[in-house]
Structures are given as C-alpha cells and as structure tokens.
Subunit: 343 residues, 2 copies
Amino acid sequence: MTTYRRVVLANRPKGKATLENFRLEDTPVPDLGDGQFLVRTIWLSLDPYMRGRMDDGPSYADPVKVDETMTAGAVGEVIASRNARFAVGTIVVGAFGWADHAISDGEGVLAITGDEVPISTALGVLGMPGHTAWIGLNTILEAQPGETIVVSAATGAVGSLVGQLARLKGLRTIGVAGGADKCAHAVDTLGFDACVDHRSGDAKDLRAAIAAEAPDGVDCYFENVGGKTQAAVLPLMNTFGRIAVCGLIAWYSGQNLDQGLITPAVMRKILVSRLRVRGYIIFDHWDTYGAFRKEVAPLVAKGDVTYKEDVTDGLENAPQAFLNLLEGGNFGKQLVRVGADPT
Amino acid sequence: MTTYRRVVLANRPKGKATLENFRLEDTPVPDLGDGQFLVRTIWLSLDPYMRGRMDDGPSYADPVKVDETMTAGAVGEVIASRNARFAVGTIVVGAFGWADHAISDGEGVLAITGDEVPISTALGVLGMPGHTAWIGLNTILEAQPGETIVVSAATGAVGSLVGQLARLKGLRTIGVAGGADKCAHAVDTLGFDACVDHRSGDAKDLRAAIAAEAPDGVDCYFENVGGKTQAAVLPLMNTFGRIAVCGLIAWYSGQNLDQGLITPAVMRKILVSRLRVRGYIIFDHWDTYGAFRKEVAPLVAKGDVTYKEDVTDGLENAPQAFLNLLEGGNFGKQLVRVGADPT
C-alpha cells in the first residue's frame, strides 16, 4: 500500500457548505517513524462542530487549513506499528480525520479492544457526543430530580443521551426534533415524556406545544440548535433556570439569523428570571472522560441506555452525509463506514 | 397632621416614561394600628429598577398599580409609634415609597440609629445598590485577583462600588461611563484603572477604546446597561469569562433595540468562549445583607471606599429626577431630599 484516500477542505464555504468545498484525493503513505503506527479506519464520525472548523474565523479550535484533511474522530484497527503500546490488531479511537488510513504517534488515542459494546459506540454514545451529553446534564445544567428539561435535537447523538440520562435521573423530559418519525422515536425508544416537532409551525406554535407538555415550566434547556427552537423555549424558562449552550446548528451557516428572540429580549429574560446561560465545549472536560465511561458504558451494555446510528457507506460519501447532517437529515449518530470490521 | 404628600403612578408609560405618568397628591394619614409607626421621610432613593415596576408585564416583582404610591427605599425618622421596637426618634430604612410620610409595621425595616456613617448611605453604598455591587462581584462574577473587569455605568450607585471593590480585590478595572466628567471621576476619585466614554462614538469605537485598556482581554463584565456598551464588550470577553446581568437601562423604555449584537452572535460568543452569563436580582440575596454591611461599612467609615450622591430637593421633583436618571443624567447615587435632618 503506497497511497491512501482522504477528503480535504478544497476551499472555505461562503454561507452554506456545499460539495464543492471538499475534494477526495489519494495521498502517499509516509514511512512509519519510531513510535508511530498505521491505522486502517473502520468508522468515521461526522459531527456538527466540523462546520465551524471549515471557517477561518476565531473559534475554540484552529480551523482546518485549505488542502488539509478534514478533522474527525474515527475508530480503526492498527495494521502496522512501531509503537509498543499499540500493537497490530489493536482497535483504537482517535482524531484520525476523513481518511481511510492514518498515521499516529498515539497522542490522544485510546485502545478499545475487548469492550463489551460495539466499537462504533466509541464515536457516539460512549464517545465525544455521549461525554458531551453527560457533562451538559450534570456539570453545566446541574439538573435535579423533579425538574423539567427541554432537549433540542433530541434524537441526535448528544440529545438522545441527554434525554435518557435525564429520565434516569428523574427529570421530566421534553424533546424537540424535526419530523414525526424522530418524535415517535424520542418517545417510544428513547423514553422522552414528550417530543415536539419543530417542523410543524413557527416559534409561537412551538412554544405553545412545549408549554402544553411543561405544566411546571422549564428548568433546564439543553441548547443544541438555536434559531426557532431557542425563541420558543426561552420565554418558558422558570426563575433560576439554566441553559447549556452546546451547539447552535441552525445558525452555523450564517442562516436563520432572524430566527430567535432579539438580544434585548434575551437579556431581559436572563435578568428577570435570573437565568444562568453557559457555553461549553467538551474538549475542556477530557479529565472526566473516564468517569463518564465508567458510569454510562454499563448502562449501554445492559440496554438501559439505547442509541441509534445513521450509517453512510464509503469515504467518498462523507461530504454529502455531512451536508445532510447540517440540515437535520440524519436520524441518530451519523457515521461513515470506511472499512470492513476487524478481522 | 391629617394628610401627607405622595407621588402615585397616574398611568403606565408607552415607551419612554414622562412626567404625565406621575401625579403628586395629598392623602389622609390613617390612624396608627397596634404595632404600627409613622415615619417622616428624610431621604428617598431613586433607582433604575423602578422603571420596570411602572409596566404591567411579567417581571420579578409585581408592578405598581395605577393610582398607587410609587415604590422606593427611603430613610426617615419615627415620629409616632405603637411599636416597641421602633421608638419615636429612631432612624429607619425601609420601602416607604415616594412620599413624605409612611405608615409601617416594621416588616423589612431596619433601624440605623447610631451608625458611624451618614444615614443616606443606607440607600446607596451601604444599601441595596451597594449590596447589589458586592453580590455581583463576588457571587455572580466570582471575580479573581489579577483578572480584568469592565463595569458599565461605572459612576452609578452600583457600578462605582463594583469598581472600588474590584480594585481592592486586585483586579484591573475599566469603567464605561457617559461623558468626560464622569470618566474623570471614575479614574481620579473611584480609582478605576481606566474609564471609557460611551458618548464618544459607536459600538466599534467603544470596543477599540476598551480593548486598548484591556491588553489581556476581559474576564468579567458587570452589565448594568445593555445596548451599545454590551455590543462593545462582548467580543472582548476571554475564554471562561463571566457576565453578571444586573441591569439593562439602555433597553428599559423599549428603545435602542437595534443596539447590541444580534442574538446568533451573542450565543455564538457564549459557546465559543464558554462564557457564563447570569442574571440576578438583589432581592434573592437578602440573607447576605448583614455580611455585606459588616465588610463594607468599615471601608466606607475609613474612606477606603468613597461614594457620590446626586441630590434633588423636594418630593415634587422626584419624577423629573427619575426621568433624568433613566437618561444617565445623574452623577452618583440619585437621592431626593424629602425632609429635614433628624433633630
């Protein structure tokens, strides 16, 4: 093997990302240096945060450079190694990028060989999205039993776990999702007490529908979306309510900027209801990843926590799958199958 | 004495408050019931929060009813009493309203006879505004030595103490105030490291001026204003910065709604910089009033903390003084002298 395939950022999006922003190419496999190993990618994770990396503005992480591999978490198998900690055959999860192979020195790479759960969960319910949900519910929202929580993107990789963990903790859980199928899944499979379809009306309709399911108001809002959903939920927040700002996918492409309340109304609500609004990024919380996995992996193994994956086949289809994800077209954790299962 | 004078809410403002919203009138003094006492008002406090009480919308406190006395804190002297705890001659502070006399049963009333500081301070630096500043800095912002804080309305009753306490705590303090006189006072008398005049340009100019004084960025923002100042400061906030939303005077009259960043930009900043934004109301924190006074009264007595009062004479001039306050026309804690000093 002398080359591998990767998807690079061809140019930066102006507004909405398009297929033209990506380029699939073959690139030479470098020789392994001392301490390095070669990974054959099996599963690639697509996540909304990647949209931010395509822009060249200030953000919490450096942007992807033009002509460089798009960043992503992935699960793969070590197929050549000059690193004693990562022998050939080890299953690993790491930031291997949109590529069918990757060279690593082991930094930030975790071996997951022998786990009782499918290896793809290391990218979803037991990976970064799951950890994000767990931190959001417990550390950022400080959610308490008996409270009411609204979870946007309720069937997404993060929201679906926020809802399930909140239910297990004794909260009333109200999901917001796009479409009747997702809403049915939220209630029937994920166990939300209710789910409201954001496609069925404007912010006012959405607010009325959520209010009907939240007779005691809303104490916690897990914000993954922004836009119309935020405009709907904010006025329903109880005194001393908390909002975890985890994602704002409705606004990522510079669109829907007129959706949402105006800033004076947002600020007035924060003041009058003494809200706490806190943004967070999971990368600040790696030190708790072990604690998260220790708590949630058994719940997944036992089936107390369920998860759903939306699988696209082939690295070449990653760009389209990603664009679809940004529009809410996925249903469950978005993965790309890049290679065959471990041998 | 059979009647006393008071200012009532004549009707609710539409947008900006005007003199027509108030009415001065004489009203009968009721007989004292058992446990009641009669207070002769000496000092009346005017504060921005009162604007909110004039509206009939949901807020953190009930609105003033039309034809009822405008609410206010005041300091006065007990001149008749059927309450053993409040003998004639006692100096008291309480929510006595815009009036030259008040009947009270002692609930929420504090005797301040014999304090080493002027009695008017019970309405300002050692009263509700001072307590607001102390809670904001310590509890809401969790300000730390070495950090940089921006304080809007820096020469106001609250802001001036936020700045001084922050300086004493070892923060770099940057005030924002309206006009050269206020800015000079902020630096020369209150000891701010710098003060920026918000009247000297638009939000962008203001941002550049603040940035020049904050080489290490802004860790804490004490928000008393909203509008242009908020738009200027928000992009300067450091990662893990905190914002205490205490007041939004620029937006209280339904004006300047186009000032401030748009909501998507605010939320994006909260997310990317992992900000914590928290609204608070001092009425939730009465349990710490004693601790506040114990810490700050000696600082005032020694002169380590200074304060400035803006005095208007005569109850009949309270409405105009209040309108002036809403426009930032006061300079220091706004008081109305309603009666003579204690005998």
